[in-house]
Amino acid sequence: MTEDCILKIDGVTKRFSNDLDIAERTARKLGAKIEPVTVHAVDGITLDVRKGEVLGLVGESGCGKSTLGRMVAGLTPPTDGRILYKGQNVAELKGTAARDAALRIQMIFQDPMSSLNPRLQVRDIIGEAPRVHGIVGRREMAGYVEDILAQVGLDPSTGKRYPHQFSGGQRARVGIARALAVKPDFLVCDESVAALDVSIQAQVLNLFVKLRQDFDLTYMFVSHDLGVVEHISDRIAVMYLGRLVELGDAEDLIARPNHPYTQALVSQIPTFETGKKTYQAIKGEIPSPMNPPPGCHFHPRCPFAHDRCRSEVPVLKQVAAGRMSACHLNDSAA
């Protein structure tokens, strides 16, 4: 483990199995070949996050980004592999050490509505954890909460409202305020600025940058918006169907993507259009983590796929200084 690595993701896998329903169980007893479906949400990811960096995490919808984020935040244990925070296995911590680690790593959830208690006023949602953990004294609490609300661009007087009384983007900012209120060291931001209009998005991103400068915060920043990810990240990790396929310096990775999937992503970054555009449907069936294709997961959609891709899994390896990629093409290019 290197000096500046704060979080080590070591061969982490997460599988979910969807149980059979009654009809299927009966059919199975009668001899039908029905198996419970297993979802390979995250498939053997190894990755170091450095202290004080912003690591961007991108990839197709359903490729396992939130699942990886939830494991990092200690909200669900890996099926295989370990996650070490400052050298300690988060899943094995007990008592105060576990509570402390859970506070240090905060997650801002993708779905603010279902992560906020609908029966609590927003000022209590934000103030609860800092109060319970003695981060802020009782007397300073009201001012503390108002201050955080203002930082995320919400009128401090809205603290008395309940979550359903906010607009979508306002609610997303309540989720951000709640995570910031416990003064974490490590933030997992899951599509945290997706619901925000560009001006408020700029305000929140500027806040993230400032917190990082002032408090050396480390971020894992999940987003589908490559423009935003490139802007805020030091490094970018690209996932495809549960696996890490490319990792590298943010600007360089966007400028010179190595992996064909990253290339496809970068080529499709939306730009302002001056007229109506005709959007293209995806050709062929979209591979799924319920029955991932053999070999390279990307081969059914890869324009460069060849025989080896259909049978052999490409390993993630260094292809240039500071750049890792998992594609067989890097072997043939001698």
Partner: protein, 328 residues
Amino acid sequence: MNPLLQVTDLQTHFFTRDGVAKAVDGVSFTLEKGQVLGLVGESGSGKSVTGFSILGLVDPPGRITGGQILFDGTDLVAGGEPALRHLRGKRIAMIFQDPMMTLNPVLRIDTQMVETVRAHEDVSHAEALRRAREALVQVGISPPDERLKSYPHQFSGGMRQRVAIAIALLHKPDLIIADEPTTALDVTIQAQILSELQTLCATSGTALIWITHDLAVVSGLADRLAVMYAGRIIEEGPTAEVIARPRHPYTRGLIDSVPRGKRHGAMLTQIKGMTPSLLKLPKGCKFMPRCPRADRVCEAEPSLVPLTSERSVRCFHPHDDAEEVLQP
């Protein structure tokens, strides 16, 4: 011929303990069959509440206090719940910003989709299931047969959003109000969905209200763009023109804030000042405290005035038409 939807001077207010929040305050627009209207604007500016109002889904302490919503000749405000009940889901569908407003967490997706189909059409269970499967394929959910048997919590965030879109597509409605429908979707899946919607608009004449903050997507999709601020439309016109030559200072600030081509890690341009609270709106122009062009004249209330036959703006000192912001 009448437009499909004509909204005139819509007022939707929330009567809270601290005062009246005029979430929608005099919104007017029209939408033709097959047309796409992009509705953009600051968080909290009233975009979702405009959508809820059309569908009659504003809950107390909120209510529509004025205006008219004509859908295919029927006044939905005057007609109330009886007029809306058989339109909702069938001829007008809404894709909610929060997919869990559409999805029931304790029911499997197949059950929910089959119920939706059969609520408005007398078809067999098998036929309804076939339609449900087809809709999932349209939104790129794979493998459809296994996914139909899943519960909402077994989907990723973006997949839940897509299931909600699939449900809205089931009846090929005349009007879809899509509220931030692709916020969490990567570019490939987004293109897949946009392509399906474009096909639907072209073949079934479905009209679309596309509520979003994503200017890049809306610039390629919408015929017209309406920009909202503090419950009002402050600029309206053909999409390409509004994006390339915004006339209102707010629209301009919005476009300047997009993080594209800016130096990595640098601070982004943000519109100065804070979104005003709806309970303490300034007199005169609502954008005045934040506006770089404001002067004494702006202490009066500007109205939405046409600049050309195609464009209108609510501002006393609009930007010059010659000032091009974006070099596409």
